[in-house]
Symmetry: C2
Subunit: 196 residues, 2 copies
DNA sequence: GGTTGACCATGACGATCGTCATAGCGACCC
DNA sequence: GGGTCGCTATGACGATCGTCATGGTCAACC
């Protein structure tokens, strides 16, 4: 039987969400069909609209939320027990692993959903904004604790998220880690001077 | 009749390429069908595979190249007759205009194609890498002329392209210019200290 | 132990996807 | 003026898309 924990659904439901997030990273939102999610997750076809009455949009919404929560927890853990540079390392290091492990074929699922969202699915835009916002808030808190002013910390957090996400895209195009490494080097220099 | 200029195709062919680049910015690659391109460009349906024997992939390839050339020319013009900060303004200012004019619904077509490309279309990855590479080269040249060292100029150019592209995505999600403004403020500060 | 309800198997719906074949148009060349 | 060729109109192909209805299974609860 399935043990239901508050906030978490069935096994197959969660597998679908995780697979959707995984597949979005490589093929994007429109490029990923329900059949792909079923095949990748091994979840049953018949219960799609039982778990996701809102259809594909709801699945994508949950996938974005899942990715947002997952990465935010990683950033938070690295920020709580490290210096300012570890905030950058935690965020960039995760995407470096995604790039290498996928052979530069995968990127950020939140980015994928954002750049494809039309007007008839505003929930997706909101979910993406939530994820990006939480990442920035967590990073900004870490930078403040390291000694940066609140205003500067907020601006730097936005720069970190923007540049690392952008560098991840450039890495996929160039099929190498050079852009991400260059960005991280500059970011570390900036954060170092900002916390003094 | 159609006046054929070297490197440029028919009117309807070029309209299709431009429309594809335009539509990719809002709906992405997989989210944009040939029928959308036909409707938006007013081009005839029957000549799709006359102008693009390679099908949708070739159309996207040309769209990425078109966007790459177009923006590179803008950056080059701004870099040639300005200081180091104008390089940032030229690049970021273009995307600011795209965001505002589209109501935060459009982004970068090169990004859209990159994050959706699978293995069966490596031409698209290469075309994207070319566009990103040219933008970085042009910006780096401008930074070098302003006084930055070649190595630092290359790293900064990568940071500029990455962070502005990333900020554009964040702006679409948050539906405001705050991320881009924050990034531009930090970038100007960095480039100012780098050219001294 | 009968009933409820969460969950899944199966198959199909209409729409749209990228692709292509065929026929025909009109301008140009010899 | 007959023929060639760039370009377009039209319609269809099979595949796949998201969506949903129906019927069934099995554990849980009164």
């Amino acid at each position: 039987m399935n043990v239901i924990i508050a906030g978490m659904g069935t096994d197959s439901r969660e597998r679908m969400v995780r697979s959707a997030a995984y597949l979005f990273r490589e093929r994007g939102y429109s490029g990923t069909g329900f059949r792909d999610v079923i095949a990748h997750s091994g979840a049953p076809r018949g219960s799609i609209y039982h778990h996701f009455p809102g259809g594909k949009v709801q699945l994508a919404e949950d996938a974005v939320r899942y990715a947002g929560d997952f990465l935010d927890a990683g950033i938070r853990a690295a920020v709580e027990g490290g210096d300012a540079a570890s905030a950058v390392d935690a965020f960039a290091g995760w995407w470096r692993g995604v790039l290498v492990k996928s052979g530069f074929r995968a990127g950020c699922p939140v980015v994928a959903v954002t750049v494809e969202s039309h007007d008839d699915a505003p929930q997706l835009v909101k979910a993406s904004a939530d994820a990006f916002g939480r990442w920035q808030d967590t990073l900004a808190t870490g930078l403040e604790n390291a000694g940066a002013s609140p205003e500067r910390a907020a601006r730097l957090a936005t720069l970190i998220v923007s540049s690392v996400e952008g560098a991840t895209i450039l890495c996929r195009a160039e099929r190498c880690l050079r852009p991400l490494d260059a960005v991280v080097a500059e970011l570390k220099e900036i954060t170092r001077t900002a916390v003094d």
